[in-house]
Symmetry: C2
Subunit: 898 residues, 2 copies
Amino acid sequence: MTARPDPTNRDHRWVYSFADAPAGDKALLGGKGAGLAAMTDAGLPVPPGFTITTEACVAYQQHGQHFPEGMWTQAREALAEVEAATGRAFGDPDNPLLLSVRSGASVSMPGMMDTVLNLGLNEDTVAGIARQTGDERFAWDAYRRFISMFGEIVMGVEAERFERVLARAKARTDGGRDTDLTPDQLREVVAQYKRLVFGEQRGQAFPDDPSEQLRMAIAAVFDSWDNDRAIHYRRVHSIPDDIGTGVTVQAMVFGNMGWESGTGVAFTRNPSTGEKALYGEYLLNAQGEDVVAGIRTPKPIAEMADDLPEAFERFRQIAATLESHYGDVQDVEFTIEKGTLWLLQTRTAKRSGAAAVRVAVEMVEEGVIDRATALRRVSPEALDGLLHSQVDPSADATVLATGLPASPGAAQGRLVFTSDDAEAEAENGPVVLVRHETSPDDFHGMVASEAVVTARGGMTSHAAVVARGMGLPCVAGAEDLQIDAAGGTLRAGEHTLVAGDWVTVDGATGRILVGQVPTQQPELDDNFRTLMSWADDVRQLGVRANADTGADAETARTFGAEGIGLCRTEHMFFGEERLEAMRAMILADGEGEREAALRRLLPLQREDFAAIFRTMDGLPVTVRLLDPPLHEFLPSLLELTDRVAEIKLALRRAGSMGEMDRLLEDADDARALLRQVDKLHEQNPMLGMRGCRLGLLYPEITRMQARALFEAACECADDGVAVHPEVMVPLVSVADELADQASVVREVAAEVFREHGCEVDFLVGTMIELPRAALTANRIAEHAEFFSFGTNDLTQTTFGLSRDDAGRFLSTYVERGIVDADPFQVLDREGVGELVRTGTERGRSARPDLKVGVCGEHGGEPRSVAFFHEVGLDYVSCSPYRVPVARLAAAHAALGEA
Amino acid sequence: MTARPDPTNRDHRWVYSFADAPAGDKALLGGKGAGLAAMTDAGLPVPPGFTITTEACVAYQQHGQHFPEGMWTQAREALAEVEAATGRAFGDPDNPLLLSVRSGASVSMPGMMDTVLNLGLNEDTVAGIARQTGDERFAWDAYRRFISMFGEIVMGVEAERFERVLARAKARTDGGRDTDLTPDQLREVVAQYKRLVFGEQRGQAFPDDPSEQLRMAIAAVFDSWDNDRAIHYRRVHSIPDDIGTGVTVQAMVFGNMGWESGTGVAFTRNPSTGEKALYGEYLLNAQGEDVVAGIRTPKPIAEMADDLPEAFERFRQIAATLESHYGDVQDVEFTIEKGTLWLLQTRTAKRSGAAAVRVAVEMVEEGVIDRATALRRVSPEALDGLLHSQVDPSADATVLATGLPASPGAAQGRLVFTSDDAEAEAENGPVVLVRHETSPDDFHGMVASEAVVTARGGMTSHAAVVARGMGLPCVAGAEDLQIDAAGGTLRAGEHTLVAGDWVTVDGATGRILVGQVPTQQPELDDNFRTLMSWADDVRQLGVRANADTGADAETARTFGAEGIGLCRTEHMFFGEERLEAMRAMILADGEGEREAALRRLLPLQREDFAAIFRTMDGLPVTVRLLDPPLHEFLPSLLELTDRVAEIKLALRRAGSMGEMDRLLEDADDARALLRQVDKLHEQNPMLGMRGCRLGLLYPEITRMQARALFEAACECADDGVAVHPEVMVPLVSVADELADQASVVREVAAEVFREHGCEVDFLVGTMIELPRAALTANRIAEHAEFFSFGTNDLTQTTFGLSRDDAGRFLSTYVERGIVDADPFQVLDREGVGELVRTGTERGRSARPDLKVGVCGEHGGEPRSVAFFHEVGLDYVSCSPYRVPVARLAAAHAALGEA
């Protein structure tokens, strides 16, 4: 907002007719006012009217809820122009002008007063309308509508009160519908409405004076700027409080003046597919609110060509003009009054992701816009829907429960509650796995399922991370679900489902739906590929993918990843057989046993690495050494305690000495395991024995991983594959940790190269995922050839907030505006962002050619990508399905800067 | 190290006689060389000798393990001076000069070659010595000692090999002791020693040429600078590798030349009490190593006045001269050879904390030193021992196990394994509570115990924190303990103790001792108070205490705290009755139930606050709102699962329907509790629902706490107590969290003041304990009147390291030098320190008068206190018993800067 005009300055211009308003000044006129001015300017048929500026609204608030001086006079003058243009007079009983009054801020803002129609009606003018239209019923119906609208919106009477009056009146008719009310009955409704207002307003009558009506309606718009809902909305959406709203006052036109009248809404192109053809619907002899109320079913716009051919043709031409004027698809509201077409509003059309892509590309081909504009027109998030199947938005669906949208896509199957059941039942058709939470033990169940649902855990819980990696739809942390796995039932609110019942999972919205709800499959067409290639031309950030297997890498490459930015080696052990070897390694007693277990793991790792290297032939692959707390791979303490108790119970019931002996042995085994697991138990595993701490204490783990990696690299290189491994040491907080691990890696590399008589170029670097690492990045960079910011963990430690445990309050924080967004979804620029910037600067100060990327979930989130571009990172890395989103977001960032 | 001399420069001075060495240049001469030069300089009777400089050592390493050119010639020249001064000649069979060769770097450095005595002996000179002394046995014994010493230290033969030869020889005598060996037997031992060396060295004979002996000994000292132990020691202690060691070569004198000879060590004042009187011991007719070997019991030094009155008197005078020369207590080694007193070494005496205080204060009174020097002379850590009882260092003790020294002090009692037993058994005499780990449930047991031991947990585990607060000795994380609480046994290594057995706990060293080991009680005398008052005059940092109860506050005030810097309100709920109310609050279903539970807690809190306010009359009291994860107050999931299983088991055995009904009810209750606890369970509670997050979700908790606080404040103010409450909001990461909680606190304050018709000045501020809070301190300071750095949590999140779980690897990190010190004990300046500095600067940039303190464990750690002084904080706050330590450390910091 520029300097505010003085509310007492009566010479200030507070009011503009559509015809002479500065159409480009949306801040002054509000969105609606600016749109109407522009259409008027373009010579389109717009009912005449004027706009009271947003400045007037601000002045009104400053002036103690009084109109700024001069405003009312200017409004009356503008109204006189409308009277002249329409040949009617406001309040004239013989030839009355009726008005609509609407609010319109420069940003769309629900919660404010919306619309009052038919303003100007009273006992006198209603008669005039009846006479002019020859339709008494129409006139009284309009009056009835006006009183209830004005009564509710301006005078604050509850809408329900009016509805009850109307319902009683309708009950007295034969048909029981609005249209069954006779003029006399409507007259009676009007009388009752007025009494109702009088009673509710404690003796203040419904205003009969049109001028008073207008004054009150304008004040009501201004007042609604400061109602609770509007204030809350502004706070949540960071909209300043002092930009105010405009008020548009416009001559009414009527679509319900007979069968040569009508009203409709149309898009200049299909908002769902992007096809270049008018798309929309209309109703003959109806007002806009009839369409909304759903009493009559509107007809497709194409049929208007038969019903009202002239008006249709004129609309078609105008629509084309509007689209080319604005250079984008328009969403146009129109009314035909006795054959004459009037435009009430035009705005840029909302559209599906698919439509956005098609329209953008086709408009470039049509020469309407340039490529940069086309790229800007498609929101990166919109692409996400294109890459996954979706629940048909038009389908009827019963929501069982809602959780976090942890991994996008829609799928359906029969309910199972254990991973073993999932595996068994999947042979008979699709299943959906529902668990309290998942662990590596559930991997085989997840593989067998179409989707996974958990009652616990956040966006980065085990289920969420693994599901995203696999492209499996997932809803996490659906806390309303009451799962009784043993009993095989699932309850939520009033619903109870049993194992085998069908459910549909909508991973994009976090909904779990009852039964089989239709879904739509994704399609990646030429338009998509074209747009992506333009994005690649523009962007400066590299885009890599996080992928843990050859299959992931395949997907990543399909979606255009330029390398693997994060290969999590621990994910390679989630399979059942591997998990067993991993457990043997963790529970090993001493270095010897551990090395034996590691020898079993080595060929498995080598095989995985080789598959990824082959897929990514010619591109870099960043492999992170083992990171997570070891006990993630062990059965939980609770389960083990339970098991010991179960065995005790069985012992009491043992029928024979043999059985007892066997049980006693079981009990010993279980107790021994329990003791070991208990020993490894950590209060806060996220802050415990993980990352490079493992490798420092057990260098044999690092050696095994390095050996598997370099052996795979040599093997692939022998086959002519161009391998570019980058070894990444996780969770470094002190430079010497990296120095130690880097030297182990380099030693093993030299060993393997000597053995194989081969040499492969590689880098050694580190994750920067702890505040201390970012702060001491200059020291760390002495030992690192690249950095990759692990913004998930960095967010955790910077905020002191666990991703898994934040669910209980983080949503409340977002709702109350304490944080702008969930910092695990959108990078927190102020705190975490400062560490990313500091880490990058200090790292490069010590090593100017340091390669710097990011591999947290933020790498695929557009606002975060913009930040990484700004900081000057070399690349972002995200899950394979987010790669196109990141490519487009990176292009947007580059365009934004240009 | 200044520029290094060229190893080939034969004109460079590599060797200095004691008499003309630059006595002040410790870097050049090493500590020992400088000391001997200084004593010689002062005209004291020092056996003549010379020092080969540290530069020569460095040059030797650079020169490919060759003496720098000219060094040997200079050494021979210096040796000639020694020959002249003693009237003996090196290698002369008739009148042989024997030498000692010692290493001596400028810093004390274990792990290097120490001493070779009697150098210069061979078959010829041994005969000369025998002739001169008329004591053949003495001569051959000296030769025997020389060979084993030289053989081991210079030639690398295992000491054990020599000992075995000697043992065999002794076995052949009647008495079986060294002294029972005849000259002939010793001669045979010498012959065997030489054969041993010849065999071990694969044909290299033991050198007979004295000159060769000297050359080899000097080289051995130089080489030992780079042995593994020395390198490791330097790395751990951050000693540069290139400062080198000096070598002192000195004429031997013999304390074992009959009953007018002797040797001893004495302190110029009592190193244990500080009393101004010679303290030490001596042996007639003995060499230093005899004292060490413990074969004969030395006599108190005072008795020397009778045995050798002249030598004693001369020594007394010299001791006084030395003390006043150095201005500090000296630790002097001397030898009397046939009535002549020789000084071998003097150095500043190590002393107990009590002695340090007494000596410092008395030396100021004597006019020897000024107050600043006196303050510098006492290490803050030394005070810690003064404030707690200690295990008598001279007592025999069997160590059962060693854990972390979690809370200082020594205590003993009978073993108990549960808190209920502790309470019950304490009536029959002192008990020591041993647990796997403690929880708030154990509070009553801790109160009843003399000391507490845990097998798990770190320096800041529940047991450790609570014990420190209570001044209760505690050893935490004694991982070797195998506790079978049900069986009532405690095993560690070969020991098995049962409930009721006596143990002694040494909280200062972390040792658990078997049985009742004598302890010493602390004494705070006038000297202590005097020194503290000098510290207070000097220091700029304020010193407050962390105290949670009136009793804690009492202790804090006794120790000189200037306020309470941290009152942890959750600790107030550790008592059993209170815990129950707390649990009701946590498990409350909805706001109504929660408020009912809070109403029960309110009077308890008010009472606690009032007690603290009264004790701290006139001083500020910082009260932190509820901070820890709620489930810390709940029974553990494991325990509950166990309980459910137990009930199931009991059900199987139920004897009657009535019993079964009761058990079924129990099972329902237990399961319901289990469900609720499970719901509150967090993966990483340290990063979960705690701190201000609680208050934001349940503002009624904040309101209750604020009400209790302000009601207590008003009540105390009415009684004329000067109350200065400071309300502290914990775990803020986003400024709006503080804004919200501060406004709740201020609202309640206004309410209470209105109700009570009273007004109390108070501040609202916040803990800065998360990296994001430090980084956005300017935003947070807009809502905070003070900051208090919670460096425990800040260290946790900056390093991504849980205090409780770090034990498994942090000690390894410290040992391997990856970190300089445990960052939970000594503040990490580079990472955490930068955040403290940044937070302070940004906070004050927004609010110049912001009061800034620190309330983590670091507030009582001297090196950390120095840093906080440097950053310019207003105060530190630490546990009551650390207050004197912090006061002195703050004085040191101020002196250091001056």
